[in-house]
């Protein structure tokens, strides 16, 4: 195990550790695997895909050598299909539904999807054309998976779309939030580029409510789609949170994706607080930055953790240690104001909470101190409350209320999709779900416009 880790992680060339881990299928592998697909009728994999990709069709097209057609089939259903081929929990979705689970082994749908989209990327293909302009304008606030998906779909329907993106680049979570050794930035950039080619304007470095006012947007566009996702990691609410060496996991991952691979972590001891997919990312990034020991602290148990099984497995392969039923009580600093340790307390599970998960309760007197050099916080994400309020939208603790059929908010001109409408306590929302919601919002707007058009 130690040897394996040594081979995988270089301490001399940290950048190398952040290259994509999974190798794509070779041509030969893709041909063999695509020919293994049964081409089911009314296939369960299609139903298991939140975006409803016609999987047997795109696989058949790989087998026949029609890779352009294959990529189109994928991307027409899922505007971020190249990213999803890498980050979807396929064993819970398409591959989990493959009928071959009942006879031999499921088709590697994710890898085949990556093969076809990689081909389109490598060969610089433009997959879609903008629709004939219908004179309507849409502002999309947030250029993550949901926003891009909505914009792509609307542009194909002839809408003039402007995306307002706070960051330097669009792509959201795919560009900044998912570790580069799972999802390199160029994949997300390609998907953004596909949307831009449909004459969608993307105004980056533009925070709505700061760089441009909510009023201006509301006045100047026919429809508004709020797809701002979520914000930073909340405070732990413990002493020592402002010490040097305490990181927000989202920012921490983002730094590694934007070329800031620091050597500060080589040989260091890191703890990550939380056990969702972002916590796993924080931990595996730490390993790749050369940390000597990485522990995940979680106040509940393996049972309740929200990280995908394959992510959990990946972290274990990286040598990440897990401390279940353990909560931080205090972060301890040295005289220079740097983290030197963390005081933990043992927990036990009590009565179930509203979401059905048992409530962790501290065990009095079980405190102990772990000497550490860095603490990465990954206990969820806060919401863009201020912006939601500026739009004057009804919400429930930052979860914007929408009509489930029309995705309309309390302001009929404003629609919302993605994490901003995703309720609490349901684990992590998936990229693929956000993509689907973006499509649905686009179609809801178009349906409404078409009805209005008929009346006029």
């Amino acid at each position: 195990m130690a040897n394996e880790k040594m081979q995988r992680i270089s301490l001399s060339n940290l950048e190398q550790n952040f290259l994509e881990v999974e190798q794509g299928l070779t041509n030969q592998e893709a041909i063999e695997e695509s020919n293994r697909c049964l081409y089911c009728y009314d296939a369960p994999c299609i139903k298991a895909c939140p975006t409803g990709i016609d999987i047997p069709t795109f696989i058949k097209k790989i087998a026949s050598g029609n890779l352009l057609g294959s990529a189109k089939t994928i991307m027409s259903s899922n505007p971020v299909g190249a990213s999803c081929s890498r980050v979807c929990p396929t064993d819970e979705l398409c591959e989990g539904a493959c009928v071959l689970n009942h006879s031999t082994k499921p088709i590697m749908i994710g890898n085949l999807q990556r093969y076809a989209t990689d081909w389109a990327m490598t060969n610089g293909k433009t997959l879609f054309q903008p629709g004939q302009a219908n004179g309507r304008t849409v502002a999309v606030v947030g250029g993550g998976p949901a926003g891009l998906s909505a914009a792509r779909e609307l542009a194909r329907l002839g809408y003039e779309v402007t995306i307002f993106e706070g960051a330097e680049k669009a792509g959201g979570l795919n560009t900044y939030g998912i570790v580069s050794f799972r999802l390199p930035q160029q994949i997300s950039y390609w998907e953004v580029e596909q949307v831009e080619k449909l004459n969608v304007t993307i105004r980056t470095n533009t925070f709505v409510g700061k760089d441009i006012s909510v009023e201006e947007i509301t006045e100047n566009f026919d429809y508004i789609i709020l797809a701002v996702g979520m914000a930073h990691v909340p405070n732990l609410g413990v002493e020592g949170e402002n010490l040097k060496g305490v990181y927000d996991a989202i920012e921490f991952v983002k730094a590694t994706k934007t070329g800031q691979v620091t050597s500060d972590f080589v040989g260091k001891r890191v703890v990550v607080i939380g056990a969702g997919n972002t916590a796993i990312d924080g931990a595996t990034c730490s390993v790749r930055l050369g940390a000597e020991n990485v522990k995940i602290l979680y106040r509940r148990t393996e049972e309740e953790m929200t990280a995908y099984d394959f992510e959990y497995e990946f972290a274990k392969q990286d040598g990440v240690e897990f401390r279940w039923l353990t909560a931080p009580k205090r972060i301890i600093g040295d005289e220079t104001g740097r983290v030197s340790g963390i005081e933990c307390i043992k927990m036990q599970l009590g009565e179930p909470e509203k979401d059905g998960r048992r409530r962790p309760v501290a065990i009095e007197g079980s405190e102990y101190v772990l000497p550490v050099d860095a603490v990465v916080k990954a206990i969820g994400q806060t919401r863009h409350l201020q912006l939601i309020e500026e739009f004057g939208l009804e919400h429930n603790g930052g979860v914007v209320k929408v009509d489930l059929d029309t995705f309309q908010t309390s302001n009929p001109k404003v629609f919302a999709c993605g994490d901003v409408v995703f309720g609490k306590g349901n684990g992590d929302a998936m990229v693929v779900t956000a993509a689907q919601q973006g499509k649905e919002v686009a179609h809801a707007i178009h349906k409404q416009f078409s009805v209005v058009g008929t009346v006029n």
Binding site: N35, L38, Y39, P44
Partner: protein, 428 residues
Amino acid sequence: MADLRINLAGIKSPNPFWLASAPPTNSGYQVQRAFEAGWGGAVWKTLGDPILNVSSRFAAVSFNGQRVAGFNNIELITDRPLDVNLKEIYETKKRFPNHAIIASLMVEPKQEAWHEIVKRVESVGVDGLELNFGCPHGMAERGMGSASGQVPALVERQTYWVKEVAKTPVIVKLTPNITDITATAEAACNGGADAISMINTINSLMGVDLDSWNTIPHVAGKGAHGGYCGPAVKPIALNMVAECARHSHINVPISGIGGISNWKDAVEFMLMGATGVQVCTAAMHHGFRIVEDMIEGLSNYLDSKGIASVSEIIGKSVPKYSDWGNLDLNYNIVAKINPEVCINCNKCHIACEDTSHQCIDMLKDVNGKSILKVREEDCVGCNLCSIVCPVDGAIDMVEVTSELAPMTWNERQAALSGIVECKADVTK
């Protein structure tokens, strides 16, 4: 272990697996390697006046990623001098006296040419001769091979010329590039053939390259039709063997050729009337070593059936092969889907719905689980569903007892004509 020896028109070999006349039997080196690997016999690559070959000679069809589903060649007969081949035949026979060496021959359709080559070849000790009336490419343009083999009179006359001088058994190898192979098979028998072998390769163009638009294969940008063989041709070959085997005027042993890749294929050919089989493509795909499994598999099969000698299975299925008019119109089978085995790919449903008789329904059981069900009253027993089903045992074709007595089309027509005659009598 069952006795695998065969005796085909007097040619004896330790097992029924011979290498067909083709690239694998081009030289003494190769044939000796084959005998060491276990092959029972070899038909030496066709001897005649040495020819010139072209470069780029073979091509194959891949089907859904499976290599060499079909194979084709534009190679001609031996390009080595006759005396070199004869010397190597002599040496090989000396080293392997119990293995069968058959010389394949092709010369101009002239009596003296046939007489000369038969005498020369037999002088080095071959066990038999095979007349190549089947090669469809190149040699046919010069009036030999299938050009001879497509004309029954030429087949009969040339066989007769060979038989005038031959001391060893003469096998006539037939071309499938003909409407009715029994016509040429019968001609060979009339000429005195001791046995017939079939099939030679089928005229074929393997493909066209989508980028260069060249034929596959091509020789400096030009192509010509080749001879097709390999697993894809097996059903065609099996039918031709069976048609000859059940023909009342064709009463000589048959050496079966065409897509035989394993012991099971060999058993099928022998059940349909072949006394032995010849193999080429499978050896070209995998090497001579595949014969080990062929021998062992055949032996195990015979042992499991309690059959002492492979010769006992020859022709056992021939009486079961007949004309369509002799099939029972009142025999019925229907598809039965086993839900425990079914994996719900729905391929049977869509195949039946779109292209057959619309009798497989996609339903939900009481627990809401998807199930497929055959409406037996509408099922015609076509087998399509069980053919496309990817899981063994998920669909069985089950016989339904008929209330009607068996009746064939021929019987029905005979009965009807009887009624018509009766009516005619009445009106009279």
